[in-house]
């Protein structure tokens, strides 16, 4: 029971880190970025390159993965995405799905179609045994790391100047510009950070959910579920939603395995019927 709880929380936190960037781009920039999963995949493959091929130690590689994916995100944002901001949501969907197709095929061409795995450091392999339950070391590390990231995100949003500029730009971009805030730059940095987070999530998640070229297509649904159920008006809402979904999914599969896949979908439908704006949304979202 404890193990199931633990596994669920680990899975939920991983989902959160993966989806945080999407919540940000959707909520903050009102941009439907269905290529979000591609950034996660990119992060995963960068991690494989660094850890497996170049022998960089696991914990040292993680910040590098973040920086690399953030850089890719930043470059793409300034060159491609910025041209699509003004277009309709549908065209954004078309554009980002096009990007996903390109990313999937490009990875297939360069790395091959099979699943790849990270070589974990010895200290993260195996389990502890606490109170009769097995606590996976890797999953524990994920909980710790993702927890730190969440705290850092919340701090950045609430306490730093950048955070207040971001919140201003979200509330009213025109007035924010009038106050001298470079809204374009704020959005660019936010997008880059969101992509970097996705990349980090992809690297951390490679062990749990697997990493292959079709990853963006497979997991896009889960990111969208987290963002929709949580609502896009804050950072805590998607976090709570992710934990809830992670727990629900794992517990559902454990206790009622015949219904395995249904649980997460029906949970989502039920929540959305009851609270169409998301679980914790304050008012109407865009």
């Amino acid at each position: 029971m404890l193990t199931v709880l633990f596994d669920g929380i680990a899975y939920g936190m991983l989902l959160f880190v993966l989806s945080a960037g999407l919540a940000v781009t959707l909520g903050v920039m009102n941009f439907v970025n269905l290529a979000h999963g591609a950034f996660a995949m990119a992060g995963g493959y960068v991690a494989v390159l660094l850890i497996n091929r170049l022998g960089v130690p696991f914990f040292a590689a993680l910040p590098l993965v973040f920086v690399a994916t953030a850089a890719i995100g930043g470059v793409l944002e300034r060159t491609l995405y910025v041209r699509v901001y003004a277009k309709s949501h549908l065209e954004q969907v078309l554009f980002t799905i096009g990007l996903v197709f390109m990313a999937v095929a490009a990875v297939d061409y360069t790395v091959g179609s099979g699943q790849v795995f990270l070589e974990l450091p010895e200290m993260l392999k195996g389990q502890f045994h606490v109170l009769g339950a097995g606590i996976g070391k890797y999953r524990l590390a994920i909980i710790v790391l993702c927890g730190l990231i969440t705290v850092a995100l919340q701090y950045a949003l609430a306490r730093t100047r950048f955070g207040s500029r971001l919140r201003a730009a979200v509330d009213n971009p025109t007035v924010a510009r009038g106050l001298g805030i470079n809204v374009g730059r704020v959005f660019a940095v936010t997008f880059a950070v969101g992509s970097g987070l996705a990349g980090l999530g992809g690297a951390l998640g490679a062990e749990i959910v697997g990493l292959d070229p079709v990853f963006p297509l497979k997991y896009m649904i889960y990111f969208l579920i987290v963002v929709t159920v949580g609502g896009t008006s804050s950072m805590t809402a998607p976090f709570a939603a992710a934990i809830l979904l992670g727990l629900g999914d794992v517990a559902g599969k454990y206790y009622v395995p015949q219904l395995g896949a249904f649980v997460i979908y029906t949970m989502m439908i039920a929540v959305l019927i009851w609270r169409p704006q998301g679980l914790f949304a304050r008012g109407a979202t865009r």
């Binding site: 549908l90 554009f95 799905i97 990007l99 197709f101 390109m102 929709t228 959305l272 109407a284």
Partner: protein, 337 residues
């Protein structure tokens, strides 16, 4: 009661509903393909089916503003109903089975319409997606009914109207699909240019105002959603009948995503977008995957990206299909939204 006002409105609507030369040309070319391009009929059948499916999505997306990522639920439902009717020998005549599948899908649409009435775009997106995923899992489980992951196969179709047997070269299949698509298109066209269609348009522009002048938003949305579901079900049934096969792939996320892509490429909101988009998307995909069977996704993705970056403004073809008037520019704006 025919007052001068209603007469004027009727005249105005009739004027808008006149057939444009571009429309006539489109359907003449389609008809010609039945005779002139026999080697292409198998591919063109898939184009017609995707076109009808995209048309059904246009009804809710372009005209009612409901974004759906799970429209394949109705497509697959129609496919399975038609497949089961044929496999179990319940209804032999394909046209009758087609109608039954369409009605069944429409009923499913009506029953699930409450899911899309509330919430933002994103909510609707996810709820419709969730419904399709749940239906997929159900179909996967009910092996005794749907064949599960193996699918329904090996059933034979009776000749259409008792006369035209489905041949291996796909000629009858194509003529059948094209005829069904055309008839349903005519019905949709009639619907859109009627007062009902006008009320939908006003609902999409501003639901609050429309409700204030007496148009019931819920009833209209439920109605169009059910009709669209029925159309999608007919498209799915066509697929099952022309290929004598129904599989879980008719319900999955890729199917919903493909039809959405096809509609966006063609442009939503003017009825021809789904058809044109289906032609463009399918033919492009076929051509590119013939050149590079493994990496066609890259080139197709590139085309999609370029379409958005370059924009459709250079391609004025959309105007050719629209009623001449200030409504044309309004429709163009709504078509891109």
């Amino acid at each position: 009661m025919s007052t001068p006002l209603t007469a004027e409105i009727a005249h105005h609507l009739a004027a808008r509903a006149r057939w444009r030369p571009a429309e006539i040309a489109f359907w003449l070319i389609a008809l010609a393909s039945v005779i002139a391009l026999p080697g292409w009929h198998l591919l063109l059948t898939q184009v017609a089916i995707l076109g009808l499916f995209a048309l059904s999505l246009d009804l809710i997306l372009g005209f009612a503003g409901i974004i759906s990522l799970g429209h394949a639920a109705f497509f697959g439902f129609g496919a399975y109903v038609a497949g089961i009717l044929a496999a179990r020998g319940l209804v032999a005549e394909p046209m009758l089975a087609l109608v039954i599948s369409g009605v069944a899908a429409a009923l499913l649409g009506w029953a699930t319409s409450f899911l899309v009435l509330r919430g933002s775009d994103l909510t609707r997106l996810m709820v419709t997606l969730g419904l399709a995923l749940v239906l997929y899992e159900i179909a996967n489980r009910l092996v005794w009914l749907t064949g599960g992951a193996d699918g329904l196969s090996g059933f034979a179709m009776a000749p259409v109207l008792g006369w035209f047997d489905f041949d291996i070269a796909g000629h009858v299949g194509y003529a059948y699909s094209l005829a069904v698509t055309f008839v349903l298109f005519l019905l949709a066209r009639r619907l859109i240019f009627s007062p009902f269609g006008l009320s939908l348009r006003s609902l999409k522009e501003n639901a609050l105002r429309a409700a204030a002048i007496g148009i019931p938003p819920r009833r209209r949305l439920v109605a169009i959603y059910a009709v669209a579901a029925g159309y999608a079900g007919v498209a799915g049934a066509l697929l099952a009948q022309t290929t004598q096969f129904a599989s879980l792939a008719t319900l999955d996320f890729e199917r919903s995503a493909d039809v959405l892509l096809a509609l966006i490429i063609g442009g939503a909101g003017y009825l021809y977008g789904g058809l044109i988009g289906a032609v463009a998307f399918k033919l492009m995909q076929e051509w590119i995957s013939g050149v590079t069977p493994q990496y066609w996704g890259f080139w197709l993705g590139l085309v999609l990206v370029l379409i958005v970056l370059v924009g459709r403004a250079p391609l004025q073809y959309v105007r050719a299909f629209l009623p001449r008037s200030h409504l044309a520019s309004a429709a163009l704006r709504s078509g891109r939204g």
